[in-house]
């Protein structure tokens, strides 16, 4: 049985690579974006930054959020919806493996790719642009993990409520841009007006980016950020299990 799961995961990973969207946008694009920002003086000059730090320092956790959102929200829903639409999940229901294992394999691939991508991003940030590594690495890892699980939960809910891969793609993209806005991709959270900042702190990616920033600065995230992320994980997991259909 475990050999079957291993092979299933390996096969799904091959398909993930063949699809190209996940690897390009989830693995290389965020680091490429970092390199672009890192070569613009505006981002590296402490005079333009927040709290006397270059803007690039502020953007590194935002790009970590970008990795997680890209892999979970932009690639998972269309894949899951197309598997359901094309009868892949239905076909698996007649085998000893069952369709739940395919979802498990997809989540494992998403998390593993996110790990590689975040490590790559932080390493390039540190080595090429002197961005300090997180001073509270455990809090950083925990925040990233909770954020990834919450985003995967949201992805499953999106896949559950959209009938086709095309619709899942469209809703996933809209959600991605809205969440990235509140994560501060266009306007850092620190620079947002109070109303937007409060909304941002309540969104999964906004809370995640703030938790990651605090962990980078060496603090444990503010009291309710991690419980909020954990709440998103629980609620989306329950909703996903209730709403998702194999056919």
């Amino acid at each position: 049985m475990s050999e079957a799961l291993l092979r299933l995961t390996a096969t799904e990973f091959t398909l993930f690579l063949r699809d190209k969207v996940g690897p390009i946008f989830g693995l290389f694009f965020p680091t490429a974006l970092l390199c672009v920002f890192g070569n613009i003086d505006f981002f590296t000059d402490p005079a333009n930054g927040v709290d006397g730090q270059p803007l690039l320092y502020t953007y590194t956790p935002i790009l970590v959020g970008f990795v997680l959102a890209m892999l979970a929200i932009n690639t998972l829903p269309p894949t899951l919806a197309s598997y359901r639409e094309q009868g892949v999940l239905r076909r698996l229901r007649t085998t000893p493996i069952g369709p739940a294992q395919v979802l498990g394999a997809q989540f494992a691939i998403c998390l593993a790719t996110a790990l590689v991508s975040v490590v790559l991003l932080l390493a390039v940030a540190r080595l090429a642009f002197d961005v300090p590594l997180p001073r509270q690495p455990f809090a950083f890892a925990l925040s990233a993990l909770l954020a990834a699980l919450a985003l995967i939960g949201i992805a499953v809910v999106v896949a559950a409520v959209t009938p086709t891969a095309r619709a899942a793609n469209a809703i996933g993209s809209v959600l991605f841009y809205v969440m990235m806005f509140f994560a501060g991709l266009w306007l850092p959270i620190e620079a947002m007006p109070p109303v937007l900042r409060h909304v941002s702190e309540a969104t999964p990616l906004g809370a995640a980016v703030q938790a990651l920033s605090e962990a980078t600065a060496g603090d444990w995230p503010s009291a309710w950020r991690l419980p909020l992320l954990a709440g998103y994980v629980v609620v989306t997991a329950l909703a996903g299990i209730r709403l998702f259909r194999w056919e």
């Binding site: 096969t11 398909l15 009868g87 892949v88 239905r90 076909r91 229901r93 007649t94 000893p96």
Partner: protein, 246 residues
């Protein structure tokens, strides 16, 4: 002879629509048993209950002594299914699909032997999304047999195949049966049922209107119509009182 599939008084409705209304039949070991009927006659719902994909509202089903819903895990090891319009990921290659599915089973068939038997050599490294309808059909038959099943349930086996491919598929099914596999075949092609099936159950609007050998059904129809020879199609029309899809 041992009974392999036993369906008794099966009922299934979707909302107000009754799909299956008291269906019973038995399939013996080594038999090719056909389910014949037009669209909406309840064929697919019945086999989906047999495969454990759907839960019956009422009635009992035993497949190799197993309850398809309760003993689903064990059932999937011993029953191979070919579903209507069921697919694989578009970018998965045929050879990859076969070895992946082979890994799911305790005692899988040899993928290379199935590739040869179904003439899949040339498309082994072709992606599923690039296959023609007939090629997809052959791959899905291969996947139904990859677990070395004792029972194979084949839904709309030759739909979308050209005449040559249909005949080759029929020959293959006869070889599979010769290997001791019991086959439940869903079809709306009369010639297919006449050629392949030892016995057929004729479904009409969720009920079984006749179960017999194709020869007995045609003989009875000939007597009824007062002609010397009748076809299975004549028998079918007489039994269901409606035109067929053929």
């Amino acid at each position: 002879m041992t009974t392999v599939i036993e369906v008794q008084d099966l009922h299934k409705r979707y909302g107000p629509k009754v799909a299956v209304d008291g269906i019973s039949f038995q399939v013996d070991e080594g038999e090719i048993f056909g389910i014949l009927g037009s669209n909406g006659a309840g064929k697919t719902t019945t086999v989906e209950c047999v495969e454990g994909l759907r839960r019956a509202d009422r009635g009992s089903i035993r497949v190799l002594g197993l309850d398809p819903v309760r003993d689903h895990a064990e059932l999937t090891q011993r029953v191979g299914a070919q579903l209507q319009e069921a697919q694989l990921p578009e970018k998965l290659r045929v050879g990859e699909a076969l070895s992946l599915y082979a890994s799911f089973y305790r005692r899988p068939a040899d993928p290379a032997a199935l590739v040869a038997a179904l003439g899949l050599e040339d498309i082994r490294s072709t992606r599923f999304g690039k296959l023609s309808g007939g090629q997809r059909q052959r791959v899905s038959i291969a996947l139904a047999l990859i677990g070395n099943p004792r029972v194979a349930v084949l839904d709309e086996l030759t739909t979308g195949l050209d005449p040559r491919a249909r005949r080759e598929t029929w020959r293959l099914i006869e070889e599979v049966r010769a290997g001791g596999v019991t086959i439940l075949l869903v079809t709306h092609f009369m010639d297919e049922a006449e050629r392949l099936c030892d016995r057929v159950a004729v479904f009409d609007r969720g009920r079984v209107v006749a179960i017999d050998t194709p020869a007995a059904l045609t003989k009875r129809a000939a007597a009824q119509l007062g002609v010397e020879r009748a076809t299975l199609e004549d028998a079918y029309v007489a039994l269901t009182g409606e035109s067929t899809d053929v």
